[in-house]
Assembly symmetry: C2
Homo-oligomer: 369 residues x 2
């Protein structure tokens, strides 16, 4: 165990957030340009196409280690990104990351059912954790992840990239500002046609179907557009079990959310049709985004006073991936909770469980705060 | 009672549809250009702004009588449309329409709770019936209307103007043709900001809130786009009872419909925000309409093979109002059921009752065919 992790454990009783913040504040004061080292765990397409190339563009982050079960991938991406053999790990070797001071953060980009295990082991190795969404396959797992990071004094952040994307940030601002009037209706639709033979269609790896994978964008957007937490959910699932793609997971699951401020959200989650849109309807106008949560090419319109205007935002200095990857180092340095925290991920997991329960039992589920 | 109504009653045992058709076929063969006389019952804004001006444009229909409780309206519109005093009726005089051979069809454009009574009395007076949507305030009333018209041998049609509007007809055709692939998701949203102090906000007249008035468009569109009848509904209502507008009726009620072919519909009904849109998502593309069911200015897009194209249809010879008004005379002459029949209206009423029940009981409601 490194001295750094030791100190974190010692300081845990003082409050992990304060402790970690103080620690970094002291230790890193003389290194303002230091870039935090990320170990990427799981070298699938999202990791290799979206995340790893962006780490080179980061202000506060860099790729320092790789974890994969496929030696060829370690060799290929290790060479490509200049990661020495000492910083390439198989899953069997994973826990050795604790001895590597070049790894500050572990980014878990594994199939969903492995999120909790590797996040917890990363925390136990004294590393901060970035974990892809969905955070886990159950609320109980999510709670265990939060507890493990709290105990280790490490930070936990979930890969909700839209929380760092300018159009989505603009939509949150517009929706919550009142310029559209009080929010009455949110519609939020996410889906794609799922190709067969993927881990996402295999429940032991995915933990569920479209809702876990793509519907979570509809859910998360409804929440960040409403700016508050739903108090009731109601859902309807439609799955053709004779379609081999859906032998173990759901195809479509549509759901309603009731928010305490009086908004209703009407959400679509689909593995059988393409959707990437949301809309916020206030009493006095609406905002529409489509595509809403894509990698690039966001489009948005605002309708007020009888006129529809397209929103055109300047290209940000950091795109959503870079901003997300830089945010965890920033939170570590500042000693603050990251914007897309473990608690944020847990809220979605609890709602996902309630949505599944509602669909299964054919009744609305009330949520306790 | 006129001889015409007598013959209908005598022939009722032979099957009312056949009887009425045969009757008109014989009686009217020599009068190919005859325009059927409409009595408009209720001189509110929809009647006076949308329906009465269009009757002059009809091929098979003309305005021949007016019924209103306001003498000033009878005088004003009677003069404007050249309706003689003998063809102007108060509600107390309504049943005398039976003695007026210039009235073939009674168009009921009254507050919802009066639809059943005046439709039934019109049928009992031997007249065909056109009734605005919602057909009635309950399925039981709708059934009574159907029974009364059947017994009288008169036709019954509901004022679903979208069934006669080119963009909506095109959408039905596209959705059902399979060019988008099997329909997976329908979204259908209708709403407007309800101004206070209207009969539509007074349950004894309206029978309900947004669902009865505007949400029925979302419901009806979901059904005509799916091309089949839902087997399950689930709904969530949100009404601020402290808002004086909503003392007796609901504000918003969102609902899901499950169709036997595997489509789900996600529908919005609102009295607190503006919506007029639907979308059909097949496996291979989508169709979007917005505004979807407006009086004019329909817009539509179809997305297939990665490309979105705006649909531009030629202006029809008859707009939706004229086509609707001409259709009932055509059905009478042809001896066929009108396209938007009483049975069609009844299906919506049964679903509306199920939607209310679902929202009230917080559970999904399965429907029997």
């Amino acid at each position: 165990m490194t001295g750094q992790a030791d100190r974190r454990l010692v300081l845990a009783g003082m409050g992990a957030t304060l402790a970690a913040g103080t620690l970094w504040g002291r230790a890193r004061a003389a290194e303002p340009t230091r870039r935090f080292g990320y170990a990427v765990v799981g070298l699938g397409s999202y990791a290799t196409n979206q995340i790893m190339p962006r780490l080179a563009e980061c202000e506060h982050a860099r790729l320092t280690a790789l974890v994969s079960g496929t030696p060829e991938k370690l060799e290929r991406y290790g060479s490509e990104y200049g990661i020495p053999a000492t910083h390439r790990y198989s899953y069997a070797q994973f826990d050795r990351i604790r001895d590597n001071p070049d790894i500050d953060i572990v980014y878990v980009i594994l199939p969903n059912s492995m999120h909790a295990e590797y996040s917890i082991r990363a925390a136990q190795a004294g590393k901060h954790v970035m974990c892809e969404k969905p955070m886990a396959v159950s609320a109980a797992e999510a709670e265990a992840m939060i507890a493990a990071c709290r105990q280790a004094g490490t930070k936990l952040m979930i890969g909700y990239r839209s929380h760092f994307e300018p159009y989505n940030l603009h939509a949150m601002e517009v929706a919550r500002s009142g310029v559209l009037g009080p929010t009455r209706i949110i519609t939020s639709e996410h889906g794609f046609y799922a190709q067969p033979n993927q881990w996402r269609l295999h429940r032991p790896l995915s933990g569920g179907g479209s809702l876990m994978d793509i519907g979570i964008y509809a859910l998360n957007a409804a929440r960040y557009l409403a700016g508050e937490e739903p108090v009731e959910v109601s859902a309807m699932e439609q799955t053709d079990k004779s379609d081999p793609r859906f032998a173990t997971v759901e195809d479509r699951i549509d759901f309603h959310l009731r928010f305490p401020g009086g908004a209703l959200a009407s959400c679509v989650s689909s593995y059988n049709s393409n959707h990437n849109a949301y809309r916020v309807h206030g009493q006095g106008g609406w905002l529409r985004a489509e595509p809403a949560t894509s990698y690039t090419g966001h489009q948005m319109w605002v309708h007020r006073d009888g006129e529809t205007q397209q929103v055109r935002l300047p290209t940000p200095a950091k795109n959503q991936f870079v901003a997300q990857l830089d945010h965890l180092p920033e939170a570590i340095m500042a000693g603050t909770e990251p914007r897309a925290s473990g608690e944020e991920g847990l809220r979605d997991m609890r709602l996902i469980e309630a949505i599944y329960q509602s669909a299964r039992e054919g009744r609305a589920i009330k949520l306790t705060a």
